[in-house]
């Protein structure tokens, strides 16, 4: 049962405290500029009325929304998860509100979500998805809203970018596999630019070592457990069995391991498996999964730092921040 008592405003507090609403506003936003005695009366009035400032009115008056929009394809078993959680934590701590835009796995609703963010005067839009199309680019460029591209690290960011090089991930995975002595690699990944960059990096390094071109199977985004099963079936039908499968996600890696074990293969002796994402479970399965870790917390922190810089000066020194990645070597490869 909601009681329809009117929500208290600044003015209500002011009357109760016997001051002007301007003074209450100052006290709320900057207590030390108000005389101690006055402050005490205002504090009491706020407690008595249960006043909570109306941030909508505040935002309108200052033209600062404190809203940051984060665009992600989806939530559930997503590799973006920890990054998003870290973003919410970081930005909330700075008094921002984080609005999550779910664009759908194929980013179909990206345009609509950007409009929603702009309508709410988002101070920044953080894109984890692929580059928006040219129309969207133009719209974003015309605004003062900060646009941060994350995960992928475009050569020429729309505005600023924080991420890592997918090509480098591919290359370093290949270098590791070569050192380990694997010779027949099979790549399981997704359509789309990012995964393609990783595959290309892998292939380049692999070819440099004089190894036979890897076989591959691509799935639509997002990858899930079931794709690992399908990939295993395909793989078993191949003329020559690979000794290493490189997966675009830990989920797929885990599914492949489960299937391989069920088929009597030993991992990694008969078949090695490399994952991507270093999700929490990767360290816990049997065998534990060798994978690539992206430091989502670091990405979130750099994003927050960029926003702070922008707030202070509109001048961002470094427009591209490479947070790198880490190959986490465990048992599966």
């Amino acid at each position: 049962m909601k009681s329809p008592t009117r929500t208290p405003r600044l003015e209500d507090v002011a009357q109760l405290a016997g001051v002007s609403s301007a003074t209450v506003s100052r006290f709320v936003n900057n207590p030390q500029v108000v005389a101690a005695e006055t402050g005490k009366r205002i504090r009491a009035a706020i407690a008595q009325t249960g006043y909570v400032p109306n941030a909508i009115a505040g935002s309108l008056a200052t033209s600062r929304s404190r809203l940051v929009s984060v665009m992600i394809p989806d939530i559930s078993p997503s590799v973006f998860n920890s990054t998003v959680e870290a973003m919410i934590d970081e930005l909330t701590a700075e008094g921002k509100v984080v609005m999550i835009g779910l664009t759908g796995p194929d980013f179909a609703r990206l345009g609509a979500q950007v409009d929603a963010a702009l309508a709410r005067q988002a101070e920044a839009i953080i894109l984890t998805g692929p580059m928006p199309d040219e129309a969207l680019n133009a719209k974003l460029r015309a605004r003062s809203t900060t646009v941060i591209q994350t995960w992928g690290l475009p050569e020429e960011p729309l505005d600023v970018a924080v991420g890592f090089s997918h090509a480098a991930v591919g290359e370093e995975s290949a270098a590791f596999a070569i050192r380990r002595g694997y010779r027949r690699a099979h790549l399981v990944s997704t359509v789309g630019l990012r995964a393609e960059r990783r595959r290309d990096g892998f292939r380049r390094r692999w070819a440099e070592a004089g190894l036979p071109d890897p076989t591959q199977e691509l799935f639509p985004i997002p990858l899930h457990f079931g794709h690992g099963r399908a990939a295993f079936r395909t793989m078993r039908r191949m003329a020559e069995q690979p000794d290493l499968v490189v997966c675009s996600s830990d989920w797929v890696a885990q599914a492949l391991i489960v299937e391989a074990q069920a088929a009597g293969l030993r991992v990694p002796d008969d078949l090695a498996v490399l994952g991507f994402g270093n999700m929490a479970f990767a360290a816990e399965m049997r065998p534990t999964i060798t994978t690539v870790e992206i430091d989502g917390t670091r990405i979130a922190r750099e994003c927050a730092a960029m926003l702070r810089q922008r707030a202070l000066s509109q001048e961002i020194v470094e427009r591209r921040i490479d947070v790198g990645f880490r190959l986490v070597v465990r048992e599966s490869a």
Copy 2:
């Protein structure tokens, strides 16, 4: 590089179209009340300026924020995941913006997050956590903000509630286990009211069947994979080995299965395992996991429906909606 061109306002569009800003506002919110000819000119002006309405100003003018706050403990491998995704989908489709408040696993920041939501004039606050304390209750009751308690289904909701009965989950799990012929149950769950209700329900039914009181181990929230390992170790040290472990999460169930298999036990023949949550992987592991499914999409849909009702009439017919749950019987028990 951001170009600092001024963001277009309603007035800019109006001048370009040669009408008043009121007319543009009408066109934007309710096109059919404007003459077709006028509409055409306005549409052109909007396209030319790239105008996006300022939702902050709109919210202030109408006192409708379209903001809905969802409070969850955390994101990563959480059982709340699909529910939250469904909420975002449902509410976004109705033109709302969803603000996610991360309260921390122990809900420590719930009070602060509620204040943030109220400050932004959230139209509704959706709580997945435990009942807030009395001070928070009072603050929420005094506001016209709709408060929806989800997951758990309190006897006497603060405002309205959508969820299921934890006690019933416990009872039905026990009934199932009894039918299956298990006799020595071990419960692995968390401290806190909800898990306790499930345990109590289980025990009640178990005792009715004349079976020996289940043993148990409790962990702090949130449960994760590692707890399953720890639980298995504890279990192995027990004088009498259980034939069934009932887990508060699929993650724990999966970890137990992995450990049991590594120790040479067959699941479910030597040890049966029951999970909770029906996370995507539960259907994919070997053995697949028998678990309890909560329909997060249904919960989200009912929440959205309640908000629609409230918007129309302030009268909500049903204050408690029980969405039930489903025991998904697979291989692990």
